[in-house]
Amino acid sequence: MQFSNGRPLEGAEDMRYRDPWYDALASGWGEGDGPAVPSAPVPAARREGRTGPAGGTAAAEVYLEVQRSAAFQEVRSRYRRFVVPAVAVFLVWYAAYVVTATAAPGFMARPVAGAVNVAMLAGLGQFLSTFLLAWAYARHARLRRDRAALELRWDTQELTRGVRDGVS
């Protein structure tokens, strides 16, 4: 990889533009092209400072160390803070829809306007909420997680590479 030599340890703000995999291969649905709002900076895993471990378990040590780093904990909690409530919301909403449709068809048949009844609105609501949640997730991941995760990725790979080569 092109970062193996002479890469500054910190301040790799421009990372996404130098990442070969980060080319915009196609414009994603629901992902606007607007400039990425810089998310709150995340400390780098390297800041922890480490002494070079040696031996066969060294690579495992690297992953444990990265897992304990503030940078990783931040990325993980950002992911979980979005995903856990979102999963709960759509599973409950879908379960409520299916159970109401099977247990209370009379309520679902209540007319709203013209041919449209509660059931039609609820069904369309399921489509709409799916599209909206997917869009919100993509936006959240792009703005709040991607850059920090990418920095962690290169840091971790350099640490494991250093271990493997016996250089620390």
Binding site: Y79, T102, A119
Partner: protein, 530 residues
């Protein structure tokens, strides 16, 4: 149906087959024969390409023809059914797509085995993946036989048998010659054809009603003979308590099963990064959601324009709703436009079957070669190239699918798709989620979780009304029915999760902290991803 549109449909089938065989030859011309190439197509597809391929892989003929048919005959209950197929994609997007792309190489077992003692876990996950794929494949093969017979008007046993054999032979050629790259391009072509055809038909339906959706719904309700009940749930799934519970069970299986389907998971390995995997999932949600919305319009359109009597007369399950609607929208059986539209719909249906069976066959051959063969091979036996084994496995699975498809061609196998989703949700999803998110998960927990979902799901189906004890069963003559529901999901999914938890808390092996750290760091950052 007269001979004209059937000849044209056959011609379009042949063009599609020729194009896809051309693609297969084209992509395999500089074949390196590496595992990366065969299982993952070189991992360089763009998110948009993969999004189309996912949609092509996911929307089977049961959706393309079955859903509008269901809506045309039973109204709102078809909408209720289809919502589960879309909502399921949020599970894939949020919990699975990126993390699996980061942690695995080719199969679902890769993700689980990286944390655990490899051999037993690979065998378990490989077995359940192959089971899901074979169930799904048999449903598609039997569907292919009856579908082509239906569209071409030849209901003779010979035509159906030859269709099953022909579809099987084509899928073996695509997969074993072209691997993931050819399969992906076939799915992209199919998805583009399907979306194009559906958009044209939907626009024609809307033009017929001058854009008045209210009028469309009211006309459909009126012609159906059910009145307002047609626009509310209950006509199909609203029987007694058992029938309602059965639908809840099916809904659960649909929502949780998609994220455990091996052929869907393997699609995310064809893009370079987790970010690309996420974007392809977004693309596919857009495409699949758009398709189902249009399918709903087509279903109500068929009820309003063709009418339920004509639909039932052609096919009791309503599977000909879209072709008949196309014929009518084009101006009737004698018009050129009607002939062309009918032929296009028939060709898209055929392309759908070919693309889906190719995707499922590829995923199951990967499970056989990469998980089962690599683990079960006797030590000291001559090591063959894994790709050679995968090609042989594709041929073997093709033969098995053809044989089962021929054996089951007169049986009622409509339950098989729901069953495949139920097995995926009970055996594959729990182990996947536990491996990705549970620090204390152990090898025994993983093995128990797979078998604890797989075995109950299959056993419950054997004792369910789809196998015996009712006039619509596989074996209507005998009665050993003990379990009342047709879909086992509502029991077997919790059992899969429970077994994984039980296996973990009772195991003497301490959870490996370092391996969990590795999985967690890799899944969320992509470090070390291939």
């Amino acid at each position: 149906m007269t001979g004209n549109h059937q000849t044209l449909a056959l011609l379009l089938f042949s063009v599609f087959v020729a194009i896809t065989l051309g693609i297969t030859t084209w992509v395999s011309r500089n074949r390196q024969g590496s595992e990366e190439e065969f299982y993952a197509g070189g991992r360089l597809f763009s998110p948009m390409e993969n999004g189309f391929a996912v949609a092509g892989d996911y929307v089977s003929a049961a959706s393309f023809l079955g859903v509008p048919g269901l809506i045309a005959l039973f109204g709102y209950d078809g909408v209720l059914y289809v919502v589960g197929f879309l909502v399921a994609w949020l599970v894939v997007l949020f919990l699975v797509a990126e993390l699996v792309r980061n942690c695995g190489r080719f199969t679902l077992a890769d993700v689980v085995a990286s944390r655990m003692s490899e051999r037993p876990v690979r065998i378990a996950a490989g077995t359940s993946s192959v089971t899901v794929s074979v169930l799904y494949l048999v449903a598609q093969m039997v569907g292919a036989g009856s579908l082509v017979a239906l569209l071409l008007g030849r209901t003779g046993g010979g035509a159906r048998a030859w269709t099953v054999i022909g579809v099987g032979a084509l899928m073996v050629i695509y997969v074993s010659m072209g691997g993931m790259r050819a399969t992906t391009w076939i799915q992209i072509v199919k998805a583009a054809l399907m979306m194009g055809g559906t958009v044209v038909l939907t626009v024609l339906v809307l033009v017929r009603f001058h854009g008045d959706l209210d009028g469309l719904l009211l006309t459909a309700a009126e012609r159906s003979g059910h009145g307002d009940a047609f626009l509310a749930p209950g006509l199909k799934y609203g029987g007694d308590l058992t029938a309602r519970l059965d639908f809840v069970s099916l809904g659960l299986a649909l929502v949780l099963g998609t994220a455990g389907l091996p052929h869907i998971l393997s699609r995310f390995y064809t893009v370079p990064t987790a970010r690309a995997a996420r974007r392809s999932a977004i693309w596919s949600i857009g495409l699949i959601g758009g398709f189902y919305l249009m399918a709903i319009v087509l279903g109500f359109g068929a009820a309003a324009i063709v009418g339920p009597e004509a639909l039932r007369e052609s096919n009791a399950a309503g599977n000909t709703a879209v072709p008949l609607l196309a014929l009518d929208l084009g101006g009737g059986a004698d018009s050129t436009a009607g002939t062309v539209l009918f032929a296009v719909v028939a060709a898209v249906a055929f392309a759908t079957i070919l693309a889906v069976v190719a995707g499922v066959t590829l995923a199951s051959s990967a499970s056989v070669a990469h998980d089962l063969y690599a683990s079960l091979r006797r030590r000291g036996a001559r090591r063959r190239g894994e790709v050679a084994v995968a090609r042989a496995a594709a041929v073997g699975i093709g033969v098995v699918a053809i044989a089962l498809g021929l054996l089951a061609r007169d049986l009622n196998v409509a339950f098989l798709v729901g069953l495949a989703f139920a097995v995926a949700a009970s055996a594959n999803l729990p182990v996947l989620l536990y491996s990705l998110f549970w620090r204390g998960f152990t090898t025994r927990g993983a093995v128990w979780s797979v078998y604890g979902g797989l075995i109950p799901a299959l056993v419950l189906v054997v004792f369910s009304p789809v196998v015996s004890g009712s006039p619509d069963s596989l074996f209507p003559g005998v009665d050993f029915q003990l379990f009342p529901l047709e879909n086992p999901g509502i029991v077997s999914v919790p059992l899969g999760f429970l077994a994984g938890w039980l296996g973990t808390v009772t195991s003497s092996e301490p959870p490996d902290e370092a391996k969990h750290a590795e999985t967690e760091v890799r899944s969320l950052t992509g470090a070390g991803a291939v």
